[in-house]
Amino acid sequence: MTNTLEIKNLSKSYKDFELRNVSFTLPAGHIMGLIGPNGAGKTTIIKSIMNLVMKQAGEIKVFGLDHQSDETAIKKRIGFVYDTPNFYGHLNLKRLKGVIAPFYEQWDEATFTDLVNQFGLPMNKSLKKFSRGMTMKASIALALSHHADFLIMDEPTSGLDPVVRREMLEILRGIMQDEQKSVLFSSHVTTDIEQVADYITYIHHGRVVFCKTKDEVNEGYALVKGGNELLDADTRRNLIAVRSGQFGFEALTDDVQSARKVFGDSVVYDKATVEDIMFFHNLKAKAD
């Protein structure tokens, strides 16, 4: 199986922020969610892939090609959906399409029309009057109408109400029926990632905390809840971070098997959501 995206040791530093040694891979035909708190570096990573931001070190390959030396060839096959897509607000969708389409050899008018109808988008309404949900759908329609094999989206569901978010996720699931297509999207809305991703890459303070399949995350992590008296130097070793309260503690472990051996039945094991994982990793980072 080929890899749609390969990132190795990507580094970029700004005045008050640094991306360091970011590495992960997205196999073709799958969907990866980049999660992390705001400012963790998700957008910087995405912009680096698209060469909008100049990386300082590392290697990025898309479709097996270098993202800088083969930039144009790659971008022909990428559909990019922006965080703030509402530019040229005075145009309507029909005119915007007329502006964008000539730049793509593989522009498919039929696909675009289908998508616009499917999403119920008005062609003649000025873009500045579009709701956020409609803008997102328009961006996706434009991004999917030139036979792109790789869809990259930066925070596609932010600012959308829950109903529209579900529609968006359903659209993504539809896209994934084609096993040639891959999707990379960043979000800080963990539930969206849990709903739809095959792979989850968690970014925190410019570093990759983990890159795992959803199953690995679900089956490996767990919340451990028990009485405070159970905590000591030994038992804490199995836990990523602990939140102690008046009536007991709540902790995260990334190795349920070991935790079960240590604590046995004296604690309660609960499923850890991606949000829990983020919360406890943050706790750990603060303590370090």
Partner: protein
């Protein structure tokens, strides 16, 4: 690159139409002798053409569209060169509108009073001069964006102009200009023209090179 110029027209066609109508109105007004001052008119033509050439630059900046185009299969070099092309073409269109209107609508009195306006030479030299004087502003736009860039460029230009005046006042002999003109008119015409073109090419070329190198390293 032509695609990018056409894109600029597609996106801004209403604004362009509005601008051109305004220019036509100005020239029409002058042709009917409403504004009697010829120098004023020439200045207005020059300024309005310059402003028109910057129209789409402003539009792109305010709409944050450049990020979007950078994510399409277009190289940064193409983006840079297309801006030069678009500016030049926009400027030519503006000048053309002025030219056409003034020629069509000028009263005979005006034609007598301001004969030099109707000499083709003027309308050919003007765009070239404008282009050159403006060429070095582009690296500033690519580095700082349009608004900040215009500000820095203006500042640099004024400083340079003051320096030049200063140098001419104190270090250049009085009859230097006359000597230069005499020397140039002594040269064979083809050499003058070739030299002229070479200078233009060098100035434009270096401006473009600087812009391309600046933009290629720019984080968007």
């Amino acid at each position: 690159m032509w695609k990018l110029f056409i894109k600029d027209i597609r996106v801004g066609r209403e604004y362009l139409a509005l601008m051109l109508s305004l220019l036509a109105a100005i020239s029409f007004g002058f042709s009917r002798d409403i504004v009697p001052d010829v120098e004023m008119y020439v200045l207005v033509v020059i300024l309005s053409s310059l402003i028109t050439s910057k129209l789409f630059l402003v539009m792109e900046e305010t709409s944050q569209a450049e990020r979007f185009f950078a994510s399409m299969p277009i190289t940064r070099t193409q983006l840079v060169l297309s801006k030069y092309l678009s500016s030049f073409l926009y400027m030519m269109i503006a000048l053309l509108v002025h030219l056409v209107v003034i020629h069509l609508c000028a009263t005979t009195e005006l034609q007598e009073k301001a004969a030099f306006l109707f000499r083709p030479g003027l309308w050919i030299i003007t765009p070239v001069v404008l282009l050159l004087s403006d060429a070095f502003s582009y690296p500033f736009y690519f580095r700082f964006g349009f608004v900040k860039g215009a500000f820095f460029y203006g500042f640099t230009l004024i400083t340079l102009m003051i320096l030049t005046v200063f140098i001419i006042r104190f270090y250049v002999p009085q009859d230097f200009a006359q000597q230069m003109i005499q020397w140039v008119s002594g040269l064979p015409p083809w050499l003058v023209i070739a030299g002229f073109i070479a200078i233009i090419a060098m100035m434009l070329g270096s401006s473009m090179l600087i812009s391309i190198n600046t933009y290629k390293r720019q984080d968007l």
